[in-house]
Symmetry: C2
Subunit: 246 residues, 2 copies
């Protein structure tokens, strides 16, 4: 049984920060590699108009689906028409109370935000012979970001609901999105997250040899958290609450 206390959920979200930071640092070692996202330039036989990035994401998620990744509530696929899991799994009881958890889906917005982030963390250009590694790291980063956003959306919302269910129930029944967003928002927590992420990006690279490694820009990551990760998580929280069985 997952512990549905806001403090534990917040700690888990905090733990995801390093993972996201590390994966962005790794991606930043490759150039922007625009051809990788260009339709019809994958070099893949019979891939039609798909980009190398789209192909890799689809292959990765087909494999992940077979291994059961998308049975975990906070995992959300970016692609569709995925195969069923071939694995029987023993998953913990989540305590979530949502009819259609799959409907809380921020993947499209995450993908747009991520592609917007890339030119701010990668050197412009192409890495000949490294397109495959470059898209691999895109996908690892995207999966880590998506896990953080959806985990927050589901579990933060559920915990906050439990802590003040009368008030939430009223706003949910009134479908008052604006008031829900306001009730969910704690500016001082958001500021603390942003300050912590800035620190982590800096410290993780404190001993970096700049001749050897590209340094991930803390401002870019801070902006990404402030403008995308935090607001998308809250958007997901609202979606969860509106879908919650009250």
């Amino acid at each position: 049984m997952i512990e549905l206390k806001l403090a534990s959920v917040a700690e888990r979200l905090e733990g995801f920060e390093e993972t996201i930071v590390f994966k962005l640092i790794d991606r930043a070692q490759f150039k922007t590699n625009a051809p990788v996202y260009a339709p019809g330039r994958s070099g893949f036989a019979g891939a039609g108009n798909k980009s190398l990035f789209e192909l890799r994401l689809r292959y990765q998620e087909r494999m992940d689906a077979k291994f059961g990744r998308f049975y975990v509530p906070e995992e959300r696929a970016f692609t569709d028409r995925l195969p069923k899991a071939q694995r029987s799994m023993d998953l913990p009881e989540t305590g979530l109370r949502c009819g259609d958890i799959g409907s809380i889906d921020l993947t499209a917005a995450i993908l747009t935000a991520y592609k917007d982030l890339l030119p701010r963390i990668c050197v412009k250009g192409v890495d000949k012979g490294n397109f495959g590694s470059s898209v691999e790291h895109d996908i690892y980063a995207l999966q880590a970001i998506s896990r953080r956003v959806h985990y927050g959306a589901l579990y933060v919302a559920e915990c906050k609901f439990r802590d003040d269910s009368a008030k939430y129930r009223r706003l949910i029944e009134a479908k008052d999105v604006k008031a829900l967003l306001s009730l969910l928002t704690r500016k001082e927590v958001e500021d603390a997250i942003i300050a912590r992420v800035r620190d982590k990006v800096a410290y993780a690279q404190a001993r970096v040899n700049r001749r050897v490694r590209v340094v991930l820009d803390p401002h870019a990551v801070v902006g990404f958290y402030r403008d995308y990760i935090i607001p998308l998580t809250k958007k997901g929280e609202v979606a969860y609450l509106l879908n919650r069985k009250i």
Copy 2:
């Protein structure tokens, strides 16, 4: 064309260190998860006696093979009977002079060393519902380690040969493994690598909240570099030289 200068190759190897450290830190967030490596306990339909780890590695490498990963000289598969690449790629000229580059293969030793490392970096136990993520991180870590070892084996050996080809040619012709190893070894360089890796592990985690994240033990990583990564790279260098067209 890859620049075949020892200084640039050493810088590239240095750049791999962060990647390895980050991937080990990520893996250390999961417990040892022994059932994942146990034969016949994958929960996978029709997987026979394979472990979840073996299955995931095989699926991952089948996908990677289709995307052309193993056309890159320093990429080496841990599994066999892989499909052909479906992608046409434009790879840079390597300058390597080896008849059968695939024969320089340290994957078996890397896998053994890695499994030996796990109990030293992970908390003993199982993460219910997280076996899939746990093996994923194993594979990312293994691929990063393997890339580092094989890159070093091939390119360091080639650069050192070029810098002193008369001497190397003589030892290669005499098949004098011991003398080759000794000529390849520079203790002060190895000590500097180890000190640098220790620092990187510490700094990367300087701002970690220990209630939220498991801290990767710098000693364990230092031991892994000293006892495995460095010696296996040198073993690969010798193998490369003995296979080099002189």
